[in-house]
């Protein structure tokens, strides 16, 4: 199953990181707050509201446009797919710089960007309905 996911109510976030941990369990079978595709950002103090960052599934994704190797490809339903074999060798990570939201981060192990695969676990584990999500038809 794949989902359309949107960060609809970041102001509802209590900073429980349930989305972050769900993401790392899904992507890498780890518990991790680094290799993830959804981020809980603390703005200098826990006093300030959290910011939640996740892929917006752009129709014209700048990350893919920035990739000189064609490793990131725009998908018809929005968002991107990664062909890891084409990604090797790049040192600039223009894709990561290109996303002005900061939704893309680098997997230090494989030296490739971490791509959301729309599993929906972040939204499912959120206890405060920060995310809106629905199953994709195709």
């Amino acid at each position: 199953m794949r989902f359309h996911i949107e960060v609809e109510h970041p102001e509802r976030c209590i900073g429980c990181y349930s989305c972050v941990y769900a993401c790392s369990r899904h992507l890498y079978s780890t518990v991790d707050a680094t290799r993830i595709a959804v981020f809980v950002r603390v703005n200098k103090s826990l006093e300030n509201p959290f910011n939640i960052i996740a892929c917006r599934f752009c129709a014209r994704p700048e990350c893919a446009l920035a990739c000189p190797q064609g490793a990131l490809e725009a998908l018809p339903e929005g968002g991107v797919s990664l062909t890891p074999s084409k990604c090797e060798g790049c040192k600039n990570f223009d894709c990561i710089q290109a996303c002005k939201l900061g939704a893309l981060s680098l997997d230090e192990r494989t030296r490739t960007p971490i791509i959301c695969d729309r599993c929906g676990d972040c939204a499912k584990f959120c206890p405060h309905d920060v995310f809106r999500y629905e199953e994709m038809k195709t």
Binding site: C16, R25, T30, V31, D32, A33, T34, K44, L46, E47
Partner: protein, 608 residues
């Protein structure tokens, strides 16, 4: 990294250096948290050391499920308490535990003292000790805002003491991540004596799941129980402040220095009132979907020349965390029935880095002492405390943190320390030198706080056992035994390290399954034995450092206040303690009895 912990960060502040030590056997045998900390304390703390000596260690430990399972979010600290002169143990939430784990560590040992204000930084790559004079004198919030990174990866935590800790107030705490506390027994003062202003922990590592499919199913089940079931509903909704009205109706809400167990203005400081008038946000510890930290909005006008006649538009909003204990301590126990005044006092304790329960206890004792003319007038000065006068209380709190003069320095010793100097012991509400939490529930609470290794209501749930005992007519002997069993089991749980609020979710069967999933199989008996072993180790430490349960007095005030059992009978309280001592001795823990205590007293008198 493996889900099994093994590494200890060792820091020597005098040498401005730290190194990493591999101690897998420690974590295999004692899991983590209270188990590992108690062992490290035993190894590191010299006998009868002065709490403020550089040789006195500070230990922090996290557990095997830190970051891995819901609500396993706490860090246990152990140290020598300046307040009790004995075991210091305090648990704290926030990002600290998870950040330490993601940095690859299970525990920290801090020794020595720096010659100037210092900052310790712990990262995946190791540990640094740096001079940080520019941080000295700042509030924990200012420190957090100054040293937390922008746009950090992984998990980061900032823990800092306030001015009260710098000045050595015996009940100052360590504040982590703005809203969480290592409170109660004076860790702040110990950090201050070592000139250790703050600790920043930043971890970017990962924990590899060895049986991911099973683990994911298991996680989902626990998550569901924490989020959706009745077991934890109270903490999601009003939070523990729900207790104000519940205890008031039961006749167990202490008011005005424990002279009353019902407060006529309870509604004004109820959880419902806080929700309606002040609640702005809730936040959580990372890895806990509950969000039990309730933040109330404190509105303060800017300086008059900037108000431009529209005061409401130019107010600054400060968010202050509240829960039941500070509401009782700085509310009903001081006769304050107005939620925003209580929140203001809590906010002040936050900024100064003082324990709210003890601060309230000292103020309550002082108010009664002044009423009874127990303190020479010239000592008190202009600030005369009166029940309900939040403004004067606030000024006194400030003066205590600053240790403004001899009088305030004595108040900085805590309730029993101040009463030793000035008299008024009959109304000093202090159990084994700690101030009891807000429960006039009866025998279980008083005895539980007295016998608990850290003299906390969270030691053994005495207050909760009371509420059941009154209904079902449990014998006092049975209550004493239940207190012992609860404390043992909680020490197992505090080795994992789970949040007290989630204890109902993690029953024995659940913990056995969880340990098996990370390759640390234990039987139920092994787990129960472990809790008992930790308790015994801590008690041997306490006895070595001079604690004698048989000689500890139960404050007179505790037998004067009405409880759901009626007034507590001093003779029956003593019998309960004696029964508890015999129960523990049958388990092989040698606690001194009254006759031995007397013999010891006679022999020391003979020597002098």
């Amino acid at each position: 990294m493996s889900p099994r912990l093994s590494r200890v960060v060792r820091i020597n502040l005098a040498e401005k250096a730290g190194h990493i030590q591999e101690r897998p056997e420690l974590f295999n045998a004692y899991l983590g948290g209270a188990g590992v900390a108690s062992k490290l304390l035993e190894e590191e703390c010299p006998s009868r050391v002065d709490p403020f000596s550089p040789e006195a260690p500070i230990i922090f430990a996290v557990g095997p499920f830190t970051g891995l399972l819901p609500s396993m979010v706490k860090t246990v600290a152990m140290f020598k308490s300046p307040l009790t002169g004995n075991l210091g143990e305090s648990h704290c939430g926030g990002h600290f535990a998870t950040a330490l784990r993601f940095a690859g560590f299970g525990a920290i040992v801090v020794k020595g003292a720096a010659d100037t204000s210092s900052l310790v930084t712990i990262e995946d790559s190791g540990v640094r000790v740096e001079a940080a004079s520019s941080l000295w004198g700042l509030s924990p919030l200012q420190v957090e805002k100054s040293i937390r990174s922008l746009n950090q990866q992984g998990m980061e935590s900032v823990a800092s003491i306030g001015i009260a800790g710098e000045n050595g107030v015996y009940y100052s705490g360590l504040i982590t991540d703005r809203y969480h506390h290592f409170g109660r027994l004076g860790l702040g003062a110990i950090m201050g004596s070592k000139k250790l202003k703050a600790i920043r922990v930043h971890g970017t590592g990962e924990v590899l799941l060895e049986r991911p499919t099973e683990f994911k199913d298991f996680y989902e089940e626990i998550h569901r129980r924490v989020v959706q079931t009745e077991e934890m509903r109270k903490y999601h909704d009003l939070g523990t402040s729900i207790n104000v009205m519940m205890l008031n109706e039961m006749g167990a809400l202490p008011a005005k220095n424990f002279t009353q167990s019902r407060f006529d203005k309870a509604e004004g400081i109820s959880g419902e009132r806080f929700l309606e008038a002040l609640l702005e946000r809730k936040i959580s510890c990372p890895g806990c979907p509950v969000g039990c930290i309730h933040l109330g909005g404190l509105r303060t006008g800017f300086s008059p020349e900037h108000e431009l006649g529209r005061r409401e538009a130019f107010e600054e909003l400060e968010l202050v965390p509240y829960n039941y204990e500070p509401i009782f301590a700085l509310g009903s126990n001081l006769g304050i029935g107005d939620a925003s005044s209580v929140l203001r006092l809590i906010g002040q304790c936050e900024r100064l880095g003082m324990d709210a329960i003890m601060t309230g206890s000292v103020l309550a004792w002082l108010t009664e002492a002044v009423e009874k003319d127990a303190i020479p007038r010239q000592e008190i000065g202009d600030l005369k405390p009166r029940w309900g006068d939040a403004h004067t209380y606030s000024q006194i709190v400030e003066n205590i943190a600053l240790m403004k003069n001899q009088f305030y320095k004595r108040l900085a010793l805590g309730t029993s320390g101040a009463a030793e100097k000035y008299g008024g012991r009959d109304f000093a509400v202090s159990i084994a030198k700690n101030s009891p939490a807000g429960y006039a529930t009866g025998y279980g609470f008083v005895v539980g706080t007295l016998v608990g290794a850290r003299h906390s209501h969270l030691s053994n749930m005495g207050y909760s056992i009371d509420q059941k005992a009154v209904k079902s007519n449990l014998s006092l002997e049975l209550i004493a035994e239940k207190i012992a069993d609860e404390e043992d089991w909680l020490y197992t749980y505090y080795s994992l390290v789970g949040c007290y609020f989630a204890r109902g979710v993690y029953d024995e069967e659940t913990i056995i399954k969880a340990l098996d999933l990370i390759g640390l199989p234990k039987t139920g008996k092994e787990l129960r034995d472990l809790g008992n072993e930790i308790f015994q180790r801590l008690y041997r430490f306490k006895i070595r450092e001079g604690f004698n349960l048989a000689k500890e007095e139960i404050p007179k005030r505790m037998t004067e206040i009405e409880t759901p059992y009626g007034r507590l009978d001093p003779r029956r309280l003593r019998e309960m303690v004696q029964h508890y001592i015999r129960f523990r001795e049958r388990q092989g823990l040698h606690l001194k009895r009254e006759d031995e205590a007397l013999a010891e007293l006679l022999s020391t008198t003979a020597e002098t």
